[in-house]
Amino acid sequence: MRLATLDADALALGLTPGMTLADARAREPDLRVFDADPHADQDWLERLCDGSARYTPVAALDSPFGLILDISGCAHLWGGEDALAREAADRLERHGMRVRHALAGTAEGAHALCRFPVGAAADEDAALRRLPAEALQLGEESAVALRRAGLRTVGDLAARPAAVLAARFGEEAVDALHALLGLGRRPLAPRRPRPAIRIERRFAEPMGSTAFALKTLTEMAAEAGERLGERGQGGRRFEVVFFRSDGLAFPLRVETSLPVRDAPAIMRLVQERIDALSDPLDPGFGFDMLRLTVPQAEPMAPTQLALEGGEARREESVAALVDRLSIRAGRARIQRLEPRDSHIPEQAQLALPAVESRPPASWPQRQETGDPPMRPLHLFDPPQPIEVVAQVPDGPPHRFRWRRALHEVTRYEGPERIAPEWWTAKDGRLEGKSVGEGTSAGLTRDYYRVEDARGRRYWIFRHGLYGTEAVHPGWFIHGLFA
């Protein structure tokens, strides 16, 4: 493992990027180390770049740590180039970042001056010529060769015939040199954030009919779908605002569990939403504007259209149902179970809002065919205590009393022994303490599938191993079979 980057304090201690962690620790045993996360860094840099739109529309990423802003024609708004640079740097530093910046006639020049400070110079050109040869970024091999040749600065290189350099370091070296000195120009690839899709319709006369408004909205949805298709995306959230001529606005929001760009599907959801409103949509004196935005979109591959008479894919139809129900009943009310890999029954699945979660890839299949189910249809949460007559130490239950009714066990199968997850113990101990004390990770459970005299089947368990974990193990009912 090597060090990726270091803060100023670590650099002051003489540690350098690229050093192995073992080396660094040998020098500084108390070094605090964090995993490098280049994706998060990139993400952050992209956000900073987007944020730079306040200074100039032409801002580009200079990965991994830099941004390049083309401030031509923008500087006067901030009181000059230096003021702009100071403002930008201050702004970032206020957010806890360490900033180095430089101004130059070319992007390459600014990049180099920023990374290789040369001190005060008469003018920009002189400063650039004083840059070390490494500033050309020709790669380590060439940099070493240049040092060996005694050519240490950009100025040294610029003073030699270009052909001589090109023969040894390649055309790209000469290109880089020229770019740095402003003799050639490389285009900047600015990053502009992609705006959310936003479609508006204004009406010359306020629209008194909701139906007509919805018809217009359908057209807008179709347009939005088309634009999403161009981007290879589908919307996960759609917002519609009906602006009334008297200034009132009715915002509506629909969410989908899968990306959607199909106008009828969007409209169906909007319709559901409108139907579910407690206060119906009232055009009053009429709507004078409609706005449809898609604030959240996700990549969506183009799909093959179903042939005529073909069935919609099952997954999609379930998704559509989930979307409709979630809109009608509220997003938290429709839940989907996700399998979780655990022996503990109540932790073997998670219930998540259906709109947010994807259908699980597969549920564990662990049954041999023909056998009755191992798990009940209904789980009690929490399990309910029952009174049981059973053999000690670990015999099956003979009868039990649940909700004041006595059930005679006629058949049983078990036990299924499920031990607690020792690693969840709060005190970290691997083993139980003495009898009765139990562990903080819980007790071992012996589950029985039992059938009473009336043929009803229950799932009950003994809580704790007799004698080793509990003096009088309690019994609980945890579920009901069909």
Partner: protein, 1190 residues
């Protein structure tokens, strides 16, 4: 639920309510408290657990074999079957544990009695408790790659064992290291005398097949055709479709030797499963056998097993989910528990005991026969050995063999004949003879190597007559252990010897022993911490600071100091898991031993399975050194020694240069005074064994004058003698400052001078392992068995935790006999030191000879020595720069590598004109050392060959010429130029590099034909001249040494202005003077217990040795660890022998000065720049990395 449960109990009342329930509960409670006498005890049923894994089922089994055995005994089981996954690696341990159990139990009981203050005699009950009739059966759990359910196979007879090991060998050799790929078809080929227990499921995981399986003869295996058409024609190759089909088929193949293992899991379906098994058993006629498929001894090992499972699956405990077992049921159950679990099928439990009656095999039956190989027709091995030895003796001593030799030989012959070791000696002799024939240098050592027989046969070069080493002392009759002879070979040519052994004995009769790799603290911490979900950062800190050197007693304080919360659940869990992993060495995987060959007369694979080694063309067996010892197999250690390669090179060079033909002969007289003079000065850089810092300091004190002095020198600078505080007493006695006394026992206990016989040679101070052992026997009255155990505890490398058992016994024994407690403690302390690095006298003697030989070459042929040493790099303590520097200090002229003069290796050339007019030292022609291209970092041997080949047509005239004629790629040209190896072309580094960069590497056909100059003239780039300081800095960067100067000489003005002394001035300073000195760091060491840090720095005048106490180090950790150029303030300490140390008080990191050098401090501009950007350290490298500890 198809009626699997029971109906209502007619005895119970029909109407029930709460009152009745309570009454019933009370009645049951009462019944529980007073067990009724008429209830039959369930434990009446005997039971044998036949499917038990040990931790040699890597990452599955969680208990040691010994734990499984102990548990089975304490549960009173009738039998235990050890079966690991496709291996028998763990069975020997189980076997040994079973055999030693009564003895260990007795010892433990006695210990308990002693603590309780009771008389040290066992009562009758206790004696009975020490008895056990547990039957241990050993076999394998066969896991098939084709989906066939797992089958546990136990050999019924010795023949069955051979079948089993052959079967495993076939699977092993098919797959890459550690795996075993078996199919059902393989099983059908090796079924004789195997008892099979079919388990109803497969636990196979994916395995990778080997690309190039070892060539191996399968001659006794029925061919595929035979399996298809012969008596097995009913069994088509594809595996059976289901369990029933499998049982049916196997039952036809091995009638009466097949069982169905009914493993219950308590997963809620046991009753259903058992019913199905019963059905299967009834329909196929295969009896059911009860088992728990045990993975660990007691339920408490479940967490460890879970952690191992997570390591196996590469997941964390929180994410593992159902990969892990749901409960802790896979431990060994008692007979009562099994009877209860299998109450629906008691015959299955009874069957487990019946099974045992079929097994007639134990590992004791592995009668071992050593190969008869090197014996001619008509002779017995013993006769042949005596014949060979005696003829060698006559060749050496003439017709009359001295009486002492004859006596020794008679004694040894008797012993060898008695123990039947003749063949073993002949094998070693055979291997050594092969090496001699091939001109491979070799030298034997080890306990049996002290014999006259070995000496006369040329296996060793130590004359036992001269050194009074008694062979019988080490191969004693009581020690029923095979003799131990290690032979060192040139490390570069050992492979030839190994392949010879394979060839001579056949791959099916020769195998390298395995080494069991155990969890070491670092790996255990890292892996366990990962499983418990601790971050990489935390686990790195834990392994480096807290548990890096696990010693069994992790103090709470240390954990708190390192900033960890003792109550944190994860830390608590980690400690508990690590405790289990590290308390006893926990096996992790098998690897091959460095060179221990096991040879057999019969097929080796009928005794133990073979495996692929990571290295091509090698196979190794599954058992390690201890297992082999326990079973009485013999092994020959074929080891590699770098110094022998170096000596071989030196001999070759001397022959080529007409300096005589030398051999590492057995009778080399070690009496050359000049050699000892040199060593006494501490002038030993590069000399075998005595070149380390500590050895160099010791040489002037010890002043060796004989070979035996060198033997002591080699052995004395070792952790054992140092920690036992034996060094200083020895030195004082040697120079006569202290009277040589021998502590003696109280008169009633024995002769006064009983220790004199043992310690005479070393002036009353025990220095060797043998002496420590003899001390235990003579002074503390250890029995031979105990002494042997002590020796084993000492020999096991860093086996912390076994040796201290002997402390009390030894000290008590000695004190009881009237020795002073303090002396006894000191003796034991030394033995403890041997525990980490034992050094027996016989080894020291063998090494001392190599010390002498290498010192002799260095003394008389310094150029040859330096050349051979450089060509043997990496070897020894010193970097090429120090070796070259040392050679030059000895008057050797050294030339830079050059494109027109150098080959790949460093070479010698006639000295035309000596640097200072003086002719090179030594006899014969004066030689100069020409550096080879191997010194150039990154240059390849094949390029050097091309270069030398092209040079035959004539010397090169230009870089373009080099490129074209030698066909070198651009990178090679640039490296040559950068190494400043083009001076003979009239170009210095800068010019050559500038030219090389534009020279195209690929030959253009057009110009190649014309041989015309291709590159045109171009305008002069007017590069600045390269300053000397830069040249030197670049030399170091590219070749790691410079003949032009030392980096420090350019910085001298800077340091001189600060009042910094040079190393030479420091060395001349008065004792106690406070000085400052600076230099380039060569070595940082933290030896032994780490009380002190040793640093060696170098400047243009010499080196300075610095000592820094650990407490000062902690305060200045960064400058000490980070400096490449170090400025040290401290006090000069001069010993009376003239050894100078600088006791450092303050260390400063002045590495920044080096950057100035690289940037061209003196190239005219005078401008000093400090690099602002942090470059990769590799690219600012000026000096080679020092050799450091971490």
């Amino acid at each position: 639920m198809k009626g699997r449960g029971k109906g209502p109990d007619p005895a119970r009342p029909k109407s029930t309510d709460r009152r009745e329930l309570k009454a019933l509960e009370a009645a049951r409670e009462k019944a529980r408290r007073q067990p009724p006498a008429d209830r039959p005890p369930i434990a009446a049923l005997p039971f044998a657990e036949l499917v038990a894994a040990t931790n040699f089922s890597f990452l599955r089994g969680a208990s040691h074999a010994s734990d499984m055995v102990t548990r089975a005994i304490s549960l009173g089981l009738t039998g235990l079957g050890i079966a690991d996954r496709n291996t028998v690696a763990g069975v020997v341990r189980a076997h040994v544990a079973r055999k030693r159990w009564p003895e260990q139990m007795r010892a433990a009981l006695l210990e308990a009695r002693k603590e309780a203050g009771q008389p040290l005699k066992l009562s009758k009950e206790e004696e009975r408790a020490c008895q056990t009739d547990l039957r241990l059966v050993v076999g394998t759990r066969l896991v098939f790659a084709d989906g066939t359910p797992d089958i546990v196979a136990y050999p019924a007879t010795r023949r069955g064992w051979g079948e089993l090991t052959k079967l495993l060998t076939v699977g092993n050799l098919r797959s890459v290291k550690g795996d075993c790929i078996l199919t059902y078809e393989d099983l059908t080929a090796y079924l004789d005398d195997l008892l099979l227990i079919v388990l109803p499921y497969s636990t196979a995981t994916e395995q990778t097949a080997h690309r190039r399986p070892v060539a191996y003869d399968y001659d006794d295996r029925p061919s595929r055709e035979a399996i298809r058409q012969g008596h097995l024609s009913l069994v088509p190759p594809p595996p059976p479709a289901d369990l029933e089909a499998l049982l049916d088929r196997l039952n036809r193949l091995v009638p009466g030797r097949l069982w169905l293992g009914a493993a219950l899991r308590r997963d809620g379906r046991d009753a259903r499963r058992l019913a199905r098994f019963k059905g299967l058993s009834a329909s196929t006629g295969v009896p059911l056998l009860a088992t728990m498929d045990a993975l660990y001894a007691t339920p408490t090992q479940r967490p460890l097993q879970d952690v191992l499972g997570c390591i196996r699956e590469g997941t964390t405990i929180a994410r593992a989910g159902r990969v892990l077992e749901a409960n802790a049921e896979r431990h060994i159950h008692s007979a009562a528990e099994m009877a209860h679990l299998f109450r629906a099928c008691p015959e299955a439990v009874a069957e487990s005991v019946a099974f045992l009656t079929h097994v007639h095999f134990t590992l004791d039956q592995l009668a071992y026969e050593y190969p008869h190989e090197p014996v001619p027709e008509g002779w017995t091995a013993q006769q042949w050995l005596e014949e060979l030895t005696l003829s060698a003796a006559h060749a050496r001593y003439g017709p009359r063999i001295p009486r002492k030799v004859r006596e020794l030989l008679n004694e040894e012959f008797g012993l060898i004949a008695k123990r039947n070791y003749a063949a073993y000696f002949l094998t070693v002799h055979d291997i050594v003879a092969f090496a001699r024939m091939k001109g491979i240098l070799c030298q034997g050592r080890g306990s049996a190597a002290n014999s006259m027989v070995c000496f006369l046969l040329g296996v060793t070069s130590v004359d036992p007559r001269k050194h009074d080493l008694l062979f019988s002392r080490f191969v004693s009759e009581e020690r029923s252990e095979p003799p131990d002879i290690d032979v060192d070979f040139e490390h570069e040519r050992r492979e030839e010897v190994m392949q010879y052994i394979y060839e001579r004995y056949g791959r099916h009769r020769a195998g390298i022993a395995a080494t069991v790799i155990h969890y070491r603290s670092r790996s255990a911490v890292r892996e366990a911490a990962k499983v418990l979900g601790l971050s990489e950062d935390v686990s790195a800190r834990l392994s480096s600071t807290v548990w890096g050197s696990y010693s069994g007693d992790m103090g709470d304080a240390r954990i708190t100091e390192a900033g960890f919360d003792l109550d944190n659940p994860q830390i608590v869990q980690l400690r508990a898991i690590l405790d289990q992993l590290l308390r006893e060495p926990f096996p992790r995987h098998l690897s091959q031993h460095v060179g221990g060959f096991v040879l057999t007369q019969n097929r080796l694979d009928e005794t133990v399975p073979l495996h692929h080694a990571a290295m091509e063309d090698r196979s190794f067996i599954e058992w390690d050194k201890d297992d082999i010892d326990a079973l009485g197999l013999m092994k020959v250690d074929v080891l590699a020694l770098g110094m022998l390669s170096c000596i071989r090179r030196a001999f070759n060079l001397m022959r080529e240069q007409g300096l005589g033909d030398h051999q590492l002969t057995v009778d080399l007289e070690a009496q050359d005074g000049a050699v000892y003079d040199m060593l006494c000065k501490g002038d030993s850089i590069g000399v075998f064994q005595v070149e380390s810092r500590a050895q160099i300091n010791m040489l002037p004190r010890l002043k060796p004058r004989t070979l035996y002095d060198l033997t002591i020198q080699v052995a004395i600078v070792r952790p054992g003698p140092i920690e036992g505080d034996m060094v200083h007493p020895y030195l004082r006695r040697r120079c006569g400052e202290e009277k040589v006394t021998y502590p003696s026992p109280a008169p009633e206990h024995g002769p006064k001078d009983e220790l004199k016989a043992i310690l005479d040679k070393t002036k009353g101070v025990p220095l060797f392992q043998e002496q420590a052992m003899r001390l235990a026997i003579v002074a503390a009255r250890f029995s031979d068995v105990e002494a042997n155990k002590l020796r084993r505890a000492m020999a096991t490398f860093r086996n912390v935790g076994t040796i201290h058992h002997f402390r009390e016994k030894m000290v008590r024994g000695m004190v009881a006999r009237g020795y002073e407690a303090e002396f006894a403690q000191r003796c034991f302390k030394q033995i403890e030191g041997f525990g980490s690095y034992g050094f027996p006298e016989s080894h020291a003697l063998s090494f001392a000879r190599l010390v002498y030989v290498s010192a002799w070459i260095k003394c008389h042929q310094p150029a040859v020595f330096a050349c051979a040493l450089l060509n043997s790099q990496p070897m020894g303590f010193y970097a090429p720069a120090q070796i070259v520097r040392d050679a030059r200090e000895h008057g050797v002229t050294v030339h830079d590598a050059d494109v027109n003069m150098s080959g790949w290796d460093n070479s010698l050339e006639p000295l035309l004109r000596s640097r200072d007019g003086r002719r090179g030292e030594g006899v014969g022609r004066a030689l100069a050392l020409r550096l080879g291209l191997r010194q150039v970092d990154g240059f390849r041997e094949e390029w050097a060959k091309q270069l030398v080949e092209a040079r035959r047509e004539g010397l090169f005239a230009s870089i373009e010429d080099v490129a074209r004629r030698a066909g070198l790629p651009a990178r090679a040209l640039r490296l040559l130029a950068d190494a400043d190896a083009c001076r003979s072309l009239g170009q210095d580094r800068r010019a050559a590099l500038w030219e090389a960069r534009r020279t195209p590497s690929d030959e253009l056909p057009l110009f190649a034909a014309a041989k015309a100059r291709e590159l045109g003239e171009e305008p002069d780039a007017m590069l600045p001249a390269m300053a000397l300081s830069q040249q030197v800095a670049t030399d170091y960067a590219v070749t790691r040494l410079s003949l032009k100067g030392h980096p420090m000489q350019f910085l001298r003005p800077v340091f001189a202005a600060e009042g910094v002394l040079s190393c030479a001035e420091t060395a001349a300073a008065k004792n106690g003077m406070r000085v400052k000195t600076a230099g380039v760091v060569l070595v940082r060491q933290r030896p032994g217990k780490g009380n002190a840090i040793f640093i060696t720095i170098e400047d243009e005048t010499g080196i300075t040795n610095i000592l820094l106490w650990a407490r000062l180090f902690e305060r200045q950790r960064r400058p000490v660890m980070a400096s490449r150029l170090m400025l040290v303030e401290g006090e000069v300490q001069r010993s009376k022998e003239g050894v100078v140390h600088l006791m450092a008080t303050q260390v400063h990191d002045r590495s920044a000065e080096m950057s100035r050098l690289a940037e061209g401090l003196a190239d005219g501009t005078g401008q000093i720049r400090h690099p602002h950007t942090a470059r990769h350290p590799r690219n600012v490298r000026i000096l080679p990395q020092s050799r450091d500890f971490h």
